[in-house]
Subunit: 292 residues, 2 copies
């Protein structure tokens, strides 16, 4: 792998996820924090109009607008489709080269701690994640298939990834999570610098990852209205094992619904506010150890 | 006080506060739950368009649109101003009499448990609150001046009050809080029935209340942007004493800001998402014991 020459930190891809918005504001006003000798850094506010209105998006979810086909489709003209094309241009070098690394900052109402969301099991990013796990106990690493990630903003770079921080409500700043996220980002920049200098720090020889295998929707009636809530025993239990027969939902009448899968899985994004409309009550992962 | 003849339960006055929305849906489909022999009950979805879009409001905060002047002002024609006038009509009896009791259901990102928000120290509602404290340990009682409450939906009735439940993120259902809120509402209806029957249950001889005395904004720069977050030691510490000199905010650079009041107060609505735009970081209350 060649050296890293450009890094972008993006906040407010979803306008009501304030941790990223205010970290990018801070970095914009304190460029020295994100400056390292061997590469250039830039910050980007993902969705300025949504940030202004403190909403996830204006017309549609910006973080689903980055498929190559959509970026080339001139007929797509919603605010977010237009903004996606702008962001693609902003992140190109004067020579038309894509940014080497994108760190896209998100928050979630799920109890995901400091989750690093990767596209596939990229060896360099697994190494980075392992290093970041040494910085904070709250770090977890999730991988989803490249086909799924291809619509995300961070797919604009080969070394793109998202940091998903929670539990925090939309429209709220949590000081503790703000500081932890900042520390993680600065440590990631240090890691890139060390890589460029050929002086990568020692990291553990293996890492635990959570591989995305699917999603579960809420029980719904014929009109599409939800008929049950996340079971209290699962609320905030992201990354904890869900076994066949475990309670998973509770109807409004207090009836328990049990998980009918055939093996143990590890749910994440449990009760994420923005996923009700996406028909996702939680995502399921498999836990796996990978040698580094 | 005459007997109670009409009770209204309102949910979704703020469209992204789902506990109230789904409780009202449940009651609408199960009228027997809220039916009592001696009075009539109705349910109302406060802000249907905001509920549909899972937003707090469309044009402006509906729960600030109920001053008598605004309700009579035909020039106010925003979606919420219009809806406020509709709700006033919906809650009138055929004889043009206002509803006796309104229970307006809200949620908050602050850690307010099951808070009962009263307009002034109304003896009957303090008795009700005392009874509800026996139902759940999470019940707290807050009183604010009638002048302040006069813009709220529940001010349409003499015995109006709000139930404010949290901490829960906007756009999220928390099953445990859903069930606790339902239990509280049904117990309130039982209390009204007992009152009408002349058989009020025994209640403690005193009650602790929190009287609103003011609000504190976030530190802001000349452009009105916030410059600090709620201090981690205060996050989720609603109803806990804040003493002069206690840390209250943390700047984005990690500098602590201390409370410069002259006496101990009890903050509530700490870090409520919807209050950033209202310039409220927290509300301050005084703790007081009232004999019943």
């Amino acid at each position: 792998m060649t050296k890293i020459s450009t890094v972008a930190i993006v906040g407010g891809t979803h306008g009501n996820e304030l941790t990223g918005v205010y970290l990018v504001k801070k970095f914009a006003n304190n460029q020295d924090l994100i400056t390292r000798p061997s590469f250039s850094s830039q910050v980007v506010f993902g969705n300025p109009k949504a940030i202004e209105q403190c909403r996830r998006y204006i017309d549609k979810d910006l973080n689903r607008c980055f498929s190559r086909a959509d970026l080339q489709n001139a007929n797509l003209s919603s605010y977010e489709d237009t903004r996606a094309k702008e962001i693609q241009k902003i992140l190109l070098s004067p020579q038309g080269k894509a940014c080497d690394v994108i760190i896209d900052l998100h928050t979630t109402t799920s109890n995901m701690g400091l989750s690093i969301l990767l596209s596939g099991e990229h060896p360099f990013l697994l190494g980075l994640s392992s290093y970041l796990s040494l910085i904070s106990d709250d770090v977890k690493v999730c991988c989803s298939p490249k086909s799924q990630n291809a619509v995300y903003l961070d797919s604009l770079s080969k070394l793109g990834f998202a940091i998903e921080v929670g539990a925090v409500a939309q429209g709220v700043l949590n000081a503790e999570l703000f500081q932890k996220t900042e520390k993680l980002i600065l440590a990631a920049l240090d890691y890139f610098e060390a890589y460029n200098q050929g002086k990568l720090p020692e990291i553990p020889s293996f890492i635990t990852i959570y591989n995305y295998i699917g999603a579960i929707d809420y029980p719904r009636n014929a009109q599409g209205e939800i008929e049950a809530m996340i079971h209290p025993l699962r609320q905030f239990q992201d990354y904890q094992p869900l076994n066949p027969g475990d309670p998973i939902f509770l109807t409004f009448d207090g009836q328990e619904i049990f998980y009918d899968g055939i093996s143990t899985v590890y749910p994440i994004f449990i009760n994420e506010a923005a996923y009700y409309e996406k028909s996702i009550a939680m995502c399921l992962t498999e836990k796996k150890t990978v040698n580094l």
